[in-house]
Structures are given as structure tokens and as C-alpha cells.
């Protein structure tokens, strides 16, 4: 459906002919599929116990030693307010580079590497009901499944997004 749908809507002629294709890494959190741009991903690590940091947000799982560098690990499930991940051997941490910072994102499992042209990326339905959408670059359908492309920069940048307070969500709604 994806390719056909994209070709049927020649929204942007200039980008039309040579559609710029980007690669993404998709991963599961529960039943949901998310993806991040592959160029930001430095490595994928199996879960190792973290050292928790006091007085931090609940989605901050603590820090790990990545070859001598202290890297914070965030729980994507908790960030999306879907409870806490009980990490086991099969859970993975995606190490992502955000500007000068390196962070880890705890997810359930890595799913696939996707090549997606910019035309295939659909906008998030603009209902503006949930502030979580701000962290999404767009949606893409892959084999009948929806994958949300997320921007970790917005999700885990402490200065930009202090916390995803339940009040904020209510306010916007």
C-alpha cells in the first residue's frame, strides 16, 4: 500500500523523481513499532544493569559504562507512559548520538532496517490531542503495520522537554 499510495499523491514534484531514501532502524515497544534514523544510531547493545541516578524522572533508567563513557539510558515505554520495562536478557539498548550527547534508549527488541523514501512518510493526524505526537517525525506503513518515526532529540533532551507531565496532557486535551 505504501508505495502505491505515495506515487498516487505527487504532492511535491521537485522531490518526486529522485525520492531521497533514508534508512531507519525499527524496534518494538510492546506491540508498537517505532523507528529512528539509522545515521543517529551508534550501536545496539544487550541490556546490562544500570546504576540509577537519584532524583531523576522515572523514564531515566540510570547510567551505564560504555567503554569508559558514562551514558544515560532511557526507558521508551515509560517515556510514553505505558508502564515500566522489566528488562531481561532479550531487551536491547539503542545507543543514539544526539548532537554532542550519547544516550541509550531501552526498547523490547530491534525489528528491522527500513529503507523509506520521504514520500512514504505520512504526517501524523493533526488532532493535536496528545503532546506525544510532537516527538514524531511521521508515520509509515510497512507490511500492513504502522511504524512511528520518532525524534529522540525531542524526547530526551532535558532542556527542551523538562517532563511529560500528566497535567500537560490534560491541558492540551
Amino acid at each position: 500500500m505504501t508505495t502505491i499510495a505515495a506515487n498516487d499523491t505527487p504532492a511535491d514534484e521537485q522531490a518526486g523523481d529522485i525520492a531521497d531514501i533514508n534508512q531507519y532502524i525499527s524496534f518494538n515497544v510492546g506491540k508498537e513499532l517505532y523507528a529512528v534514523e539509522i545515521t543517529t544510531v551508534r550501536e545496539i547493545k544487550g541490556w546490562i544493569p544500570t546504576t540509577s541516578l537519584p532524583n531523576s524522572p522515572d523514564y531515566m533508567r540510570g547510567v551505564i559504562n560504555l567503554r569508559g563513557v558514562i551514558v544515560p539510558v532511557f526507558d521508551l515505554r515509560t517515556r510514553f507512559r505505558r508502564g515500566q520495562t522489566e528488562p531481561g536478557k532479550n531487551h536491547v539498548v539503542i545507543i543514539v548520538k544526539l548532537d554532542a550527547r550519547t544516550i541509550g534508549i531501552l526498547v523490547d527488541a530491534v525489528s528491522d532496517i527500513l529503507s523509506i523514501s520521504s514520500e512514504e512518510i505520512l504526517t501524523v493526524p493533526d488532532l493535536d490531542v496528545n503532546p506525544e505526537y510532537r516527538f514524531m517525525e511521521g508515520l509509515v506503513a510497512v507490511e500492513e503495520k504502522m511504524v512511528a518515526i520518532i525524534k529522540p532529540r525531542l524526547l530526551f533532551n532535558m532542556e527542551l522537554v523538562p517532563d511529560l507531565e500528566p497535567e500537560t496532557a490534560a491541558e492540551v486535551a
Binding site: T51, L53, P54, M60, V63, G68, I70
Partner: protein, 682 residues
């Protein structure tokens, strides 16, 4: 770095920054009335060397300016121009322009042709008053590679008279300058040297013969000897350029017994073969070394942890080897850190000028006295104390010192004194800034704090608490906003900066007599000695320097206060017990100090506290890693480290834990005491 010229340039600019520093230092000394001819010489040499190097790279604007400055300085050191205080201002102005020009050359930016013209004119005016003419430096670029194109050979004979030495000229400087013009061979003639008994230290005995191949004209050579004209016998002859290779002939410059004065020319000859006692290394290389040693410390901790599980009887050599390795790594680490250690002078030397400028713009009079400039501390520390220190000096001049009139009225010298000092104590470096100004006006500070809503109007604070208010965010007592301070950067930022370095700052003040700021900083930001403790399932590191003793109290020794705190008797005083498990929100930790342990630590202001922990793990050196690189600062934690098992462990920042505890106690106390009052509010 493929271009060798680029490499030389890098070295040149490194040297320039050192030379500029020593130039500034020298000028400051002169300003304070230093009469030492060596100071003047140092100032001259700095400008001279910058000019020399700049010439080699063809930085014409820099050369032209430095040339005028050099000429003036040379006249000053020879005594033709008698130093006057106003000349210093001209020289300082020239210094600014020189450093700008160096900066412009480094950044490869073109400078306006007239840049610095004013300063140049001022310098020329000084010289013209004394009838000294400034030769215009020709904008030739002494490109050494092209010297074959149009070279001449000159035969130069140079015999200095004793006057030359008396005027504090040094042949070696002339010879070096000559050498810079092209390829040179020289012969030292010591035939006039008398026997040792007859030798007079005041007389000149040496003469030189030079053979110089250069593309420069005879004028350029004359210019080298311009300042010693009349003080020497000088002949310059042009020869045909047939170059038979003559070996450099240097006569052994006589006895070592000759006195200093006579040794000057001798040194100039042997100077080239003297092996330097230091080498220049790129900082990157040292940093890499420090990082590697850091990793080594971690690996060693891991080995030691593994080794501790081995039976000594079974593997005696292995266990002993690990022990030795630990010792060697520790020595290695100390030696490597020593490479990067730097005297605080590099930071202090910027301050006299700051004070000078501040006093000028504020209409105050102040003198900066510095001591302990040679105190060494890791470069990572010196790099980051500059700004806070500058701000504190500003604060002292602006808020600390009174106007000259007010000082006279108070019966003080109209010139205020700021004393900046550094010293080592207990594995830390202390920097003190003391002024003899008005001290902190506690009432003004308190009123201001109340006005800004920092403290409730009816609060009664101790003197120390009032003093510490100036470190609160949003606090400034500057009644009028000057362009010096009051730009929104307050002492709170200073304190934050210092704290982020693992440092502390405190203040003591005596109304009418002055105030004193004391900073204490770690000697390095790379490693420290720590005590690993266990709290619940987590391990934390306590800085060893703060630990006084570890003990397990009996239930009788622990008492609780109405504000919720527990106290314990320690060395005849009650100290409060700090539940670290609570501060760091650790679950499954031992709460009862009588079941766990109490680590008695010394906090800010020498206050003792008892940290409740589950157990001690071991004492070890830890490598300090920043949490901020990839995350953010955590309250109560100064950084993190990696333990032998590869896990990250947090380093406890004792002073902030103390602050957090104090704040919490105060909240409880306020709650207890103010319940009836706040009833109306609710």
C-alpha cells in the same frame, strides 16, 4: 599538519602567547615601579622575539608595529629614554594592539592598515621627544627558501666596547637577529682575553667575525647593529658569492671561572649547544596520556577485585604482581598528572591588568598584591578558574573597596589593597581574595534579600547566613548598575562554576575592615582517592579527603531531635546523622545506623556529619567521569566513576549533600516554628 610551515606557525603562536604573557607581566612590574633592568630586558626580549618570528612568516603589519615598540623599549632599557609612569600606559596600549595583531595573524584576518596607528604615533612621539629616530622597517619578507635568488655574502666584524655591555645590550640578541637574516657562519675571537688574574669583569674582551649569506641589503645588517652604534667597532663588507663551505668555528669560551659580566658574551657563543631542560608537547598528547592512565586505573581496580578472590598460597606471585602493579600505576598516574600541572600564575597574571582597568573606570584606587603564584594545579583546573576569579576580583573592586574619599574618611590609605593568594593544603588548592574595603554591610544585604523575596521578612539569620546570601541567585547589592558588575552575572554563578569543579567557596567579612573569599579546589579533575561504600544494592564513592572516621554507634549514642534529625555523640560534640539512602532515594538500605555504619565526614566550614551507610567496600583511586557530558548534573553528586566490576558508581558531593540536608532541616524547622503564623494564610 602536512605543511611544515603550518607546524612552525603553530609553534610560533604558542610562543607568542607565552611571550605576550611575560610581556604583560613585565609591564605590570614596571608599572609598580620595578627598577630591575632584567624586567626591562624581559619586556624588550618578548617584543623582539615576536617581531623576529613574525618576520619569518611575513606578518608585515605585526612586524612593523613590533618594530616601533621594540625600538622604544630598547631606548628605554639603554637609558636614553627615562621611564615615566605615563609611558607605561602607552606601552600597555601598545601591548593590547600587539596581542590583537598576533591574534589577527593567527586567525588569518586582515587588519585595517591604520590599526594601532595611534599607539604607534604615541610611541614615536616619546622617541622624538628624545631625538630618537625610528627607522622604517621595510616590508621585505625574509622568505628563507628564496634566498638563493639574489643573495650576497657579507663579511662582518664586530667588536663590542665595554659601553655596549654597560647599556645592557647583549651580543647574543644581535647575533640571533643577524642569523635570522640568512645563513651565517661565525668565529669568535678570544685573543684579547687576558689571564684570569688580570681579567676585569667590566671590560669587553670578545670580538666576532661573521660571514653572512643573505638576500637582504647592507642596510638590513646595519639596522641590526643600529642600537649599539658607537658602542662597538663594526665593519660590513660585501664579498663575491663564491661559497666554499667553511665549518662553523667556535672557540671554547675560556674558563668557567669568569664572572657573570664577562660570561655574557661567552654564553652567547655556547648558548646554541646548551640542551634545553624542557620540551614542548601538544596538550592533546598529554590529555591522551592522562585518559589512558585513567583507563589503566580502572583496569587495575578490576584486576585487584579479581585478585582479591584468589588464594595467596595458590598464586603468590600473581597476587604480589597485582599489588605491585597497583603501586606502579599510582606512581605513573601521579607523574602524568604532574606533567599537566601548571602554576596558577597563568591565571593570576591576568588579574593586575583587570584591577588597573577597573580602578580606572570606577575612579577607585587599588593595589593588587599576589602571592603563591607558583602553586601548581592541574591544567583542567586553571583553565576553568579564570572566569570565576575575574568575577570575584571585579566584585572586590566594585563592591568591596570604597571610593578614595570614603577611605580617607574612614582613616584608611586612599589606595585599597586586594590580596590574591594561593596555597596547597590537605590535597587541595586554596585561593583567597582578601580586600581591605568596607566589608559586607549585613543590614543592606539582609534588606536586599528581603526585598528580592529571597528570605522571609521576619527571618533572623546568623552573620554567616547573611554573608552567604550574596551567593543566592538573583542577588546583587550594586546600588547602581555599573558596567563592571551588575550585568546579571552574580556571585551565584561564581559559586556554581566553582562547585562544578568540585570546589567550595566561603566568605568571611569584618565590617569596616574588609572581606575575604576563600575558594578551595581539587588539584585535579581527573582522579581522586575514594572510599567505596554500599547503600542498599548501590555503591557510592565518598571522597577520602573528607572522611574522618568510620564507626558503628551503639543505640545509646544515637538520639533524635524534634526536627526529625538523628544526632550522635562524636568526640565530645553532637553531629547530625545524614541518611544517605534518603538523600539518594535508595531502596532496601539499612536505616538503623547501629546496624550499618556511620562514616564521619567533614563538610563545608569544618562541620562534621555522620553519613549512614550499609557497609564499606574498599578504598581505591577512582577516575572522575562527568555525568554532564551525556546527561545532566545530579544534585548531591559530583560525578561518576567506573568500578572494578565495570559498573558505574556515583561520587558523593559532600558539600551539596550538606546543603540539601540543611535545607530539609530548615524546612522542617520552619514548619514547626511557623505553624501558628501560617494558620492565617491557609
Amino acid at each position: 599538519m602536512s605543511d611544515p610551515m603550518e607546524q612552525f606557525k603553530v609553534i610560533f603562536f604558542e610562543e607568542c602567547s607565552e611571550l605576550l604573557t611575560s610581556l604583560e607581566e613585565g609591564l605590570m612590574l614596571l608599572q609598580q615601579g620595578d627598577q630591575d633592568s632584567e624586567t626591562m630586558n624581559a619586556v624588550f626580549r618578548a617584543v623582539h622575539s615576536i617581531k623576529g618570528g613574525a618576520g619569518a612568516f611575513g606578518f608585515d603589519a605585526l612586524v612593523a608595529f613590533a618594530h616601533i615598540q621594540e625600538t622604544l623599549l630598547d631606548e628605554m632599557r639603554s637609558g636614553t629614554i627615562v621611564m615615566k609612569p605615563e609611558y607605561i600606559d602607552v606601552l600597555l596600549q601598545a601591548y593590547d594592539i600587539l596581542s590583537e595583531l598576533v591574534g589577527a595573524a593567527q586567525r588569518q584576518v586582515a587588519v585595517d592598515k591604520n590599526y594601532g596607528a595611534e599607539a604607534a604615533l604615541a610611541m614615536k612621539a616619546i622617541m622624538e621627544n628624545k631625538g630618537v629616530a625610528v627607522s622604517e622597517k621595510k616590508p621585505e619578507s625574509p622568505d628563507e627558501e628564496s634566498q638563493d635568488i639574489d643573495s650576497h655574502r657579507f663579511k662582518i666584524s664586530f667588536k663590542p666596547f665595554e659601553e655596549l655591555y654597560q647599556r645592557a645590550n647583549e651580543p647574543i640578541l644581535l647575533i640571533r637577529e643577524l642569523r635570522d637574516l640568512g645563513e651565517m657562519e661565525m668565529t669568535l675571537d678570544t685573543s684579547d682575553m687576558p689571564n684570569l688574574e688580570e681579567m676585569n669583569a667590566e671590560l669587553a674582551y670578545f670580538s666576532w667575525e661573521f660571514s653572512l649569506v643573505t638576500e637582504f641589503s647592507e642596510d638590513a645588517i646595519e639596522e641590526v647593529f643600529e642600537f649599539v652604534e658607537g658602542d662597538c667597532e663594526l665593519t660590513i663588507e660585501q664579498e663575491n658569492l663564491v661559497t666554499p663551505e667553511k665549518p662553523v668555528h667556535t672557540n671554547d669560551p675560556a674558563d668557567d671561572n669568569i664572572t657573570d659580566q664577562a660570561a655574557v658574551p661567552a654564553k652567547s657563543n655556547s648558548g646554541e649547544t646548551v640542551v634545553s631542560q624542557s620540551i614542548r608537547v601538544e596538550l592533546d598528547k598529554v590529555d591522551r596520556l592522562v585518559n589512558m592512565v585513567g583507563e589503566l586505573v580502572i583496569t587495575q581496580a578490576m584486576l585487584r577485585e579479581q585478585g582479591s578472590q584468589l588464594l595467596v598460597e595458590q598464586y603468590p606471585n600473581l597476587v604480589q604482581g597485582i599489588e605491585e602493579l597497583s603501586r606502579h600505576i599510582r606512581d605513573l598516574q601521579e607523574s602524568v598528572m604532574a606533567i599537566r600541572a601548571q602554576p596558577v600564575k597563568s591565571v593570576f597574571s591576568r588579574m593586575p591588568r583587570l584591577v588597573r582597568e577597573l580602578t580606572a573606570s570606577l575612579g577607585k584606587k587599588a593595589r593588587l598584591v599576589m602571592s603563591g603564584e607558583e602553586t601548581e594545579v592541574d591544567k583542567t583546573v586553571t583553565e576553568r578558574i579564570g572566569d570565576p576569579l575575574m568575577h570575584m576580583i571585579r566584585n572586590s573592586v566594585d563592591h568591596g573597596l570604597e571610593s578614595p574619599e570614603a577611605r580617607l574618611d574612614a582613616g584608611k590609605d586612599e589606595e585599597g589593597t586586594i590580596h590574591l593568594s594561593a596555597f596547597h593544603r590537605g590535597g587541595r588548592i586554596f585561593i583567597e581574595i582578601e580586600d581591605d574595603g568596607a566589608g559586607i554591610n549585613k543590614q543592606v544585604v539582609l534588606n536586599k534579600a528581603i526585598e528580592n523575596g529571597l528570605v522571609p521578612p521576619d527571618s533572623s539569620l546568623s552573620d554567616e547566613e547573611i554573608n552567604n546570601l550574596i551567593f543566592m541567585p538573583g542577588f546583587s547589592t550594586a546600588e547602581s548598575v555599573t558596567n563592571v558588575s551588575g550585568r546579571g552575572v552574580g556571585m551565584d554563578v561564581v559559586r556554581k562554576n566553582i562547585q562544578s569543579l568540585g570546589g567550595r567557596i566561603s566568605i568571611s567579612s569584618n565590617a569596616g575592615k574588609g572581606s575575604k573569599f576563600t575558594m578551595s579546589l581539587p588539584l585535579t579533575l581527573a582522579v581522586m582517592d575514594g572510599m567505596v561504600v554500599e547503600i542498599g544494592t548501590e555503591k557510592f564513592v565518598l571522597p577520602l579527603v573528607n572522611i574522618i572516621q568510620t564507626l558503628r554507634p551503639t543505640p545509646q549514642e544515637v538520639n533524635s531531635l524534634p526536627d526529625g534529625r538523628n544526632v550522635m555523640m562524636f568526640r565530645d560534640e553532637y553531629i547530625s546523622l545524614v541518611p544517605l539512602y534518603d538523600v539518594f532515594d535508595v531502596k532496601d538500605a539499612t536505616h538503623d545506623p547501629c546496624e550499618g555504619l556511620v562514616v564521619v565526614v567533614e563538610g563545608d566550614g569544618g562541620i562534621l556529619m555522620g553519613f549512614i551507610v550499609d557497609d564499606l567496600v574498599n578504598q581505591q583511586q577512582v577516575v572522575i567521569k562527568s555525568l554532564e557530558t551525556n546527561y545532566e548534573l545530579i544534585e548531591g553528586v559530583s560525578g561518576a566513576t567506573i568500578l572494578g566490576n565495570g559498573r558505574v558508581s556515583l561520587i558523593v558531593d559532600i558539600a551539596t549533600v550538606q546543603e540539601m540536608t540543611a535545607k530539609k532541616t530548615q524546612e522542617t524547622e520552619t514548619h514547626l516554628t511557623q505553624v501558628p503564623v501560617s494558620m492565617e494564610v491557609h
